[in-house]
């Protein structure tokens, strides 16, 4: 949180002239998706300077990790990004497993991937829906939420809970699925592809929607890399960087899917519309992956034997995975003695996205600020952790 | 002439005088350009009211008074637009709307 002194040191304070007003967007504002605050200096409707202020949702998850045994930290990773909880579970589990050298049975890996991909679709639905809502169209958001309900039903069968699933365990997953789960998923996917077509037609053929997003908040590939973007936001800028391809984990190397890259279909590469359409395409890719998984999954154990007390070897390591909002990295430092980490640092995509705001907001109108911020798909708890 | 106040031309003319005087007082005593513009608007309105009154009570088939009232309204709008544009240009430059601060042209 920014105090008055910090603000003065961080913004070149020129005396505010008559036509310039300082305005607080947030911490409680409909379009900040949680508690995030921007301080905007407006000249009429145009932003002259902007400061992005984070920290209003800080729950010190990383500090809590230092006082918990490794398995007990798993539920906290749900809360890092509550929209895509299984992806966070998976990232943490993979990091610890690779350090401890734990085996994971094949079926458990498949189930983890099903959970992760369902959650990815879930998260992207929220992202595109909220983007539509922030540029003023309420109905697509509700439609997206309706489809998300089906996914939540599926996740409930899979994990037992609808949100904050806490599904992944070291060396496996917490429970197996009933047989009709796959049939239901298949049915949902058939329906979902049709829905996505309709959703896409409703928005991408809408002139107003296009005008609001095209050429707004353009980020070139270099710029995006400079801001250390990752995930869909980076891919929208034309960089085909997908950790499922580049640094495969689970069985993603066996999967056939393409990495959608922003190509400036309607405007410039890397504008807000590209970020929207990349997410739509990615949902379709996730559907493909899910279908492949379901054709390959076999019966088998879901949990390997793991030691009662997990003690990682001394040293530090970083493990990354592809979460819906970009690279999700767990940097674990262990002293090699206790069953608790010495330090955990979580690297999230949303936090990286926040760094671009002050730069990009300059010269935008208030409505563009909202559209650009929504197109980045920032979730407040992931920013602050 | 009827006894009704509303059908007596003098009542309209007196109202007009009072409004005009109020406008004049505003123009004379204010420092803020906005307030001066308001005073001018009041004075213009009072005169337009005069036109309508004479048109109505002198010979009601003669509508020239209405024409002049409309002209006054249009001109007042044009005047206000230009005045406020100048005012805002000055304000962006000087951060003030007071007549005292705009005296550079004084010899």
């Amino acid at each position: 949180m920014i105090t008055e002194n910090d603000l003065q040191s961080r913004v070149e304070i020129t005396p505010i002239n008559g036509s310039e007003i300082e305005i607080n967007m947030g911490p409680h504002h409909p379009s900040t998706h949680g508690v995030i605050r921007f301080i905007l200096f407006l000249d009429g409707e145009i932003v002259v300077r902007a400061v992005a202020d984070v920290g209003y949702l800080h729950r010190s998850i990383e500090k809590i990790a230092e006082n918990l045994p490794y398995p007990m930290f798993m539920p906290y990773t749900d809360r890092v990004d509550y929209v895509a909880a299984i992806n966070c579970n998976l990232g943490y589990a993979l990091a610890v497993e690779s350090l401890a050298g734990l085996e994971v049975p094949e079926r458990a890996t498949w189930l983890r991937m099903i959970g992760a991909e369902l959650n990815r679709i879930n998260s992207h639905l929220i992202a595109v829906g909220a983007l539509a809502m922030d540029v003023g169209a309420t109905t697509p958001f509700v439609h997206a939420i309706r489809e998300r309900e089906y996914i939540l039903d599926l996740l409930e069968i899979l994990t037992g809970t609808r949100m904050n699933n806490n599904y992944v365990r070291f060396g496996g997953v917490c429970q197996d699925v009933p047989e009709d789960f796959f049939k239901k998923t298949e049915k949902f996917l058939d329906h979902f592809v049709l829905f996505l077509g309709e959703f896409n037609r409703l928005l991408t053929t809408n002139k107003i929607f296009l005008e609001r997003l095209i050429n707004v908040g353009i980020l070139t590939g270099d710029q995006a890399l400079g801001f250390s973007f990752s995930g869909p936001n980076l891919r929208a800028s034309g960089v085909g960087h997908d950790l499922r391809r580049i640094d495969p984990y689970c069985f993603y190397s066996d999967m056939e899917f393409s990495v959608p890259v922003g190509s400036g279909v309607k405007g410039t590469t890397g504008d807000s519309f590209d970020r929207f359409i990349v997410r739509i395409d990615e949902m379709l890719e996730s559907v493909k992956i899910l279908r492949q998984i379901m054709s390959k999954i076999k019966e088998g154990p879901i949990q390997s034997k793991i030691p009662r007390k997990i003690v990682l070897p001394a040293g530090e390591s970083y493990h990354r995975s592809e979460a819906p909002r970009g690279e999700l990295g767990f940097h674990i430092v262990s002293d090699g003695k206790s069953n608790m980490p010495y330090r955990i640092k979580i690297r999230t995509g949303s936090f990286a996205a926040m760094t671009s705001l002050s730069e990009l907001f300059k010269g935008m109108m208030v409505a563009d600020v909202v559209a650009y911020f929504a197109s980045l798909d920032v979730v407040a708890p992931e920013v602050d952790r | 002439m009827t006894s009704l106040l509303s059908e007596n031309p003098n009542s309209y003319l007196i109202i007009s005088v009072l409004i005009f005087s109020a406008g004049m007082f505003t123009v004379l005593t204010r420092k803020n350009i906005l307030a001066i513009i308001m005073g001018i608007e009041l004075m213009l309105n009072a005169s337009a009211l005069n036109f309508i009154t004479f048109s109505f009570f002198r010979k009601s088939t003669l509508y020239s008074g209405h024409v002049f009232a409309i002209l006054i309204i249009v001109l007042a709008a044009a005047e206000a637009v230009v005045a406020l544009a100048i005012l805002l240009a000055i304000f962006q430059q000087r951060k003030s709307v007071m007549t005292d601060d705009i005296s550079d042209m004084k010899g």
């Binding site: - | 409004i19 002198r58 406020l84 240009a89």
Partner: protein, 180 residues
């Protein structure tokens, strides 16, 4: 009954004007003006001038008042309190105004004007005829004036021009200081 309404309207018209003249804050003055303008439109209706009355509301209330309020909001932060002009204190001004009003009212009653009772009737068609027959030149001139006004106001508020003016003004000030 008609008179009661008339007196009410008249009180509003004059009261609004007085509020404009005497109020302490600029926003109250604007409100007084608004009240006065609407009441004057009502007075027009008393005199069967409905077209003029509606024009008054459309142009003054919908146009001029909005512009005034806009300017007040944009320039708020500058002092908006009642201040006397150095050239004119309140009492001399009051004196001038009272003398003027007295003279005008005296003139009104001594002029011995002949009035006829007004007749009520629609006025729109006649006004239109007059504008397009007798006053066609005036009408066209007013159109030209409005075009000039539009262009002028647009040019005056163009940001880059204002900035240029500010910049050149700053230069000249610097030069002056250098000379000193």
């Amino acid at each position: 009954m008609k008179d009661a309404i008339f007196i009410l309207v008249a009180v509003f018209a004059v009261g609004g004007a007085l509020l404009t003249a005497a109020s302490q804050s600029i926003i109250n003055a604007a409100l007084g003006l608004l009240l006065s303008l609407i009441s004057i439109a009502a007075l027009y209706i008393f005199q069967s001038a409905d077209f003029v009355a509606i024009s008054q509301i459309l142009v003054y209330v919908g146009g001029v008042m909005v512009l005034l309020l806009f300017s007040i909001m944009l320039s708020s932060g500058s002092t908006d309190f009642f201040k006397n002009n150095p050239a004119m204190k309140v009492f001399p001004a009051l004196l001038i105004v009272v003398v003027f009003a007295g003279l005008a009212i005296y003139a009104l009653f001594s002029a011995n004007l002949t009035f006829y009772p007004g007749q009520y009737g629609p006025s729109t068609r006649e006004i239109g005829n007059l504008f397009l027959k007798d006053y066609i030149l005036v009408f066209e001139l007013v159109s030209v004036l409005i075009v000039v006004m539009l262009v002028g106001a647009g040019v005056m508020l163009r940001k880059e021009l204002v900035r240029k003016a500010v910049a050149s003004d700053g230069d000249s000030k610097d030069e002056k200081e250098n000379k000193k």
